[in-house]
């Protein structure tokens, strides 16, 4: 029950600072380990050559893009249900980083698609829904910027985030539902992965690094938001 104590911005502020510091520090060695595994341990792919090494950025970024949206929607739901100020601030703090990872997933995917599929872009289900996700993030940020009162902005964006969360399962399952160009899932929680262990390790390390990075950035950003709103209120 101690968590309720942290629901107040004032008490959460120093905790956010500590989380930011430790997550930021932890992210660096994990990223270095991931990059080492990705470039020097994982073998060259038989069909794609060295081009496949983009996977160590592309897949973790895509995972983060979906994960961060779900977390954002979670805080949105909490904020609407319990009318807590901090929840809305958390959602706003996560949005830019989520949009960034979505863009990185799309960019790296495009650069990976050109040498392997022969095209920079294709309108298959997964790419299209990832692009929609980017627009959903932008819509969230645009709506927040358009509303003057921060509390009303938080609540309006919360409704928007929850309406958009339907897109996430569509992205995730799109490769199963529509048999199109983007490859199916090779990593699953239940089955053994169908890729080499070293490749998987590299991907997981990078995913962990991105996750810690996102937490650090979100904590710093929520502290900025707290300071900015306090300044306006005073």
């Amino acid at each position: 029950m101690r968590w309720y104590w942290y629901a107040s911005p004032q008490t959460f502020f120093p905790l956010a600072g500590r989380i930011a510091l430790w997550c930021g520090l932890a992210a660096v060695p994990l990223a270095l380990a991931g990059l080492y595994v990705g470039f020097f341990v994982a073998p060259t792919d038989a069909q794609q050559g060295e081009a496949y090494r983009i996977i160590f950025i592309h897949v973790p970024a895509a995972w983060m893009s979906m994960f961060l949206y779900v977390v954002m929607a979670f805080w949105a739901a909490i904020g609407l249900a319990f009318n807590t100020r901090l929840s809305g601030m958390m959602a706003s703090a996560i949005a830019p980083t989520g949009a960034l990872f979505t863009f990185i997933a799309l960019w790296t995917g495009s650069l990976w698609g050109k040498p392997t599929w022969g095209t920079w872009w294709v309108w298959d289900a997964r790419l299209t829904s990832e692009l929609i996700l980017l627009f959903l993030y932008f819509g969230f940020m645009a709506l927040h910027a358009a509303i003057e009162d921060p509390r009303r902005a938080d609540r309006a964006c919360a409704v928007l985030a929850l309406v958009g969360v339907v897109n996430i399962p569509i992205i995730y399952y799109s490769v199963q539902w529509w048999n199109t160009l983007h490859q199916g899932a090779s990593v699953s929680l239940t089955r053994a992965p169908t890729m080499a262990k070293t490749m998987l390790t590299g991907m997981l390390l990078m995913a962990l690094a991105f996750w810690l990075y996102s937490m650090a950035v979100a904590m710093v950003r929520v502290r900025c938001i707290m300071r900015e709103r306090e300044a306006v209120a005073a």
Binding site: I132, F135, G139, L143, A146, A156, V159, L160, V163
Partner: protein
């Protein structure tokens, strides 16, 4: 509850009838947008026949966007919206009635006019029923999702463009299903899957959108 719904429905339709200009403008926009594509792309019949479902659906999306602003704005301006928020009837029922009225005035005419556009694109007549059915199932979903956007952006400056930015990504699945139904039919494999999914989307939207619209209206009205 049903009495409230019927009252709101009749009221909104009456208001739409009095503002026939608005309804006609959106319809005219639909026709004009659909006419732009052959002018821009070149009028080869084979090409036009292929792109017809997509073009008609995109034009329907854009036309639907145009008419969304007036869903809540006039009520917001003269205080009726506040009365609805405070009134005895459940807000979800009220907004559902408003969305239905919006569809009858803005979406249903599109369904009626679409065969005329299809004629311009030389779409085979056998595809008209699928086209009309896909639009008949899809345009209510557009009205419902669009109402969420209209409620969220109520009274904001730069609202029209922001509304489009918020709502168009949510419209995309409906577009893909609707146009896909006609395209699959044209290819000979029947558009039943897409039509069924559209029907499911309609049920889902009718069930959940009123909650979102009501929540958004409360947020926008304080």
């Amino acid at each position: 509850m049903l009495a409230a719904a019927r009252t709101i429905l009749q009221r909104d339709l009456l208001l739409a009838m009095r503002r026939r200009g608005d309804v006609a403008t959106a319809l005219l926009f639909f026709v004009i947008v659909a006419s732009l594509f052959p002018l821009g792309i070149g009028a080869q019949p084979n090409l036009l026949r292929e792109i017809a479902p997509g073009v008609i659906w995109v034009a329907a999306l854009l036309s639907s966007l145009l008419s969304l602003r007036r869903l809540f704005e006039s009520d917001h301006a003269d205080g009726t919206l506040e009365q609805m928020l405070l009134g005895a009837a459940p807000l979800g029922v009220v907004v559902l009635a408003k969305a239905v009225a919006h569809w009858l005035a803005a979406g249903l005419p599109l369904v009626a006019i679409a065969p005329v556009i299809a004629l311009q694109y030389d779409l085979p007549a056998v595809l008209y029923p699928v086209l009309a059915l896909s639009l008949a199932l899809g345009t209510p979903v557009l009205s419902l999702i669009g109402a969420i956007g209209a409620a969220l952006t109520l009274g904001l400056r730069g609202g029209g463009v922001l509304l489009a930015l918020l709502v168009l990504p949510l419209y995309v699945p409906v577009l893909i299903l609707g146009a896909g139904a006609v395209e699959m039919s044209a290819a000979g494999s029947g558009g039943e899957a897409q039509l069924l999914l559209l029907a499911a989307a309609l049920v889902f939207a009718a069930a959940f959108a009123p909650w979102a619209i009501a929540a958004a209206l409360r947020i926008s009205s304080e």
